[in-house]
Amino acid sequence: MPDRGLHSPGMRDFGPEEMRRFRGIERRFLDAVEGAGYLEIRTPTIEPLHLFTAAGTLSPQALERVYSFLDWDGWSGERVVLRPDATVAAARWYADAVRAGGASTARVAYVAPVYRFAVDGDREVWQCGVELFGSATAEGDAELLTLASTFLRGLGVSDFTVDLAHAGLVRAAFAAAGLPAAQQVEAYDLMLEGDSGVTERLAQAHPDQAASLRLLAGVDGASAGYIQNLRAAMLATVPAAAGPLDDLARAAAALDGAGVSYRVLAATARNFEYYSGVTFRFRQGAGTEARTLLGGGRYDGLTQTLGGAAAPACGWGADLLRLAKVAS
């Protein structure tokens, strides 16, 4: 057995040189987002587990990897969890802030670790990210996509492309093909893993949906023209796709305006049930060398699911140490 030292598996130390790099990239992130009006918040490491267990937050598969336990005062049976996701924590902060009389629109940023079990690799991941609460679809999505592009370019990273998708589009297609809500998350994840079998099975079972399912899952779009093709294929049989396609078109237009190349895919975000609208990931490299630099999307239902006031919201997050590796 290799000698892994005295630290806990999946946890890492930051020596002086690593801390210097960490602080450097953290400063560049905060300077970039604060310049755009996103103010830093910090949420606790420990949150109530129930924030993450309701439908519309994390998937059961993601919940299998959280660090949950009974606190010293957990005799009432309420479990707590080491923050497994920064967006849910920020949404909880926003719900509490609004309840305490805070503004309904908020632009916030964070740098915080998230904790998820992994057999190999890091179990503590330092994330940086931004969340925009209270802004309606088109403007908010465009603002975040532009901010992400500007931030990455500020780091000296220019060779990235964006994968765009819409959570509502896939759900509408699955629902029209008769897939129960419970199986939609599983099918979504299979699709994300490149398993074409799930869509092919649905296409064969529902011939009237075949064209839209195959176009959605089998063809990677590369321009606004693809979205028009989806519109042509889907709207007759999946009228609920109209809104998502409009959202996608506006997000694509924002990227066109920022001079960023993109693909339109069926799915981009795994294990996060809270996404309700446009989702995206900024990628660098291609094929087996490809890596995700940053990802996010719209989650309009999350604050209400947590028990707070309903608020449109979107955001993105990134692995800070991964950014440190690619920054100039």
């Binding site: 267990t53 439908a55 005062d73 419970a182």
Partner: protein
């Protein structure tokens, strides 16, 4: 003895599974004299098979023993295996074969007529269970928006409907309690399991060959993936303050002592006798309800405000507070019965006079040697290991039967003894006393107002006076 030269160790269950497992082992030529017959011995050689040793454990301890690598192979209920694996799925237990032995089925149950969707949509759902990991797995997949798990020692089915909305417990137990079944949580089964590293590095074939010839179950049982509920988070109704005075009295070993203590104070609850009881004995007062439950679960139930008084043991109160120091439950009166000492027990063969000397001896050849502390009181074992600076240690939770753990399966046992006779008979001795335990009356840290508060003071005073008079 190194792992490579020691016998192949097989953990087998006592209790209800002993007979069916023993019969099948004997039929497969894997016969250990005395196991099937219910001998009180806990280690057996296997007839005609050299280098294989059988050890008897409580069913629920077997997966842990195999996961730790203390035993290479084991036979245990699917429920207890999954209770470990559903949380620690990357752990070192390999399920090898489902056996044609019936294991208990777990169900989720509540008051007759209750609906899970209705409860989940109304607010926080309280679920009592002995299987918190399986319950968490099930309720998460069921997408119950907000739930609280009451992890109880036993008799989870006794909690609904007054003390929890639901229980996850065996189908037979909830039927006996008259609850309505809302769904199946685990389909049971009994499995042959193995330690992953032992399979990879040791020759287990002398035991594996006959054990793998045991008849296979036609169905594998296991966890049930429920259909998710389509409910959103509800707002819990404000529960009106309870008016009836509620008392919890213990079953099991403490029952006869409690009946005697009550009798000394001139209190009788028909239906709660020295050798028998019903769930809800009579109190003779419409404003007073009496419930029989496990003393281990009373501190939690009192802290939750479900009972105004409970008669438990100081050991269970201390174990509960070691886990949850802020819980609002406190001792109100010492009944001075069932007296025993709880402490750290080690092998009497060790030439040491203190726990410090014992630690030095265990670490003589390996400074990083992890000291194994086994106990039914896992939180007290953990507290002891921390406060006595054991360094690298491992708490091994056991479910009651502690015979034979020291020295083979643990260095220290946190255990109680009345006279020390049993310890001496097993060549053990208590080297550190942690506490002296007696039966006691416990209550909420904040006394209730009004009539309930007055009743509590009256009961406590009567019991206290009787206990002091009896000394």
């Amino acid at each position: 003895m190194s792992a490579s030269t020691r016998p192949v160790r097989v953990a087998v269950p006592r209790g209800d599974l002993r007979t069916p497992v023993g019969e099948r082992l004997a039929a497969a030529g894997f016969r250990a004299q005395g196991y099937l017959e219910g001998s009180r011995t806990y280690r057996f050689d296997v007839d005609g098979i050299e280098g294989v040793q059988l050890r008897v454990f409580s069913d629920q301890d077997i997966p842990i023993q195999v996961a730790l690598g203390q035993y290479d192979l084991g036979i245990a209920s699917g429920t207890w295996i999954d209770e470990l694996l559903v949380r620690y799925r990357h752990d070192s237990v390999v399920p090898l074969r489902p056996l044609d032995i019936e294991g208990e089925t777990l169900v989720i149950a509540g008051a007759p007529g209750a609906s899970l969707a209705g409860l989940a949509g109304a607010g926080v759902v309280r679920v009592a269970t002995q299987y918190p990991q399986i319950a968490h797995h099930y309720l998460t997949r069921q997408r119950v928006p907000d739930y609280r798990l009451y992890e109880v020692w036993a008799q989870a089915e006794a909690w609904p409907p007054r003390d929890a909305e639901l229980a996850i417990a065996s189908a037979a137990a909830v039927a006996k309690e008259g609850l309505g079944v809302l769904g199946t949580v685990h389909r049971g089964g009994v499995w042959l399991i193995a330690n992953r590293e032992a399979l990879a590095t040791r020759d287990l074939s002398a035991a594996l060959r006959p054990l793998l010839s045991l008849a296979r179950a036609t169905a594998e049982g296991g966890l049930v993936d429920p259909t998710p509920l389509a409910v959103t988070r509800g707002t819990s109704q404000v529960v009106p303050a309870r008016e009836r005075f509620r008392i919890a009295v213990p079953d099991g070993h403490a029952q006869r002592h409690t009946v005697a203590a009550l009798a000394d104070a001139g209190i009788a609850f028909p239906g709660y006798e020295a050798a028998s009881s019903v769930r809800y004995p009579e109190s003779g007062d419409p404003e007073v309800e009496v419930k029989v439950m496990r003393p281990q679960d009373m501190p939690r139930a009192v802290a939750l405000g479900h009972f105004d008084l409970a008669i438990s043991g100081r050991d269970w109160l201390r174990a509960f507070l070691a886990t949850f120091p802020a819980a609002p439950v406190t001792e109100l009166c010492d009944l001075k019965r069932s007296k025993y000492q709880m402490g750290a027990v080690i092998s009497d063969d060790l030439p040491v006079e203190s726990i410090e000397e014992a630690i030095a001896l265990w670490r003589r050849d390996d400074p990083e040697f992890p000291i194994r502390v086994a106990s039914e009181y896992a939180s007290l074992a953990d507290e002891y290991a921390r406060t006595r600076h054991l360094g690298r240690y491992r708490v091994i939770p056991i479910s009651g039967a502690s015979e034979g753990f020291v020295p083979e399966d643990a260095e220290i046992l946190i255990e109680g003894t009345e006279t020390g006779t049993t310890l001496r008979a097993n060549r053990l001795r208590m080297i550190d006393v942690i506490m002296e335990s007696t039966n006691c009356v416990i209550g909420h840290a904040v006394a209730p107002d009004g009539a309930r508060g007055a009743r509590r003071a009256e009961y406590v005073e009567r019991l206290r006076a009787a206990a002091e008079a009896a000394v």
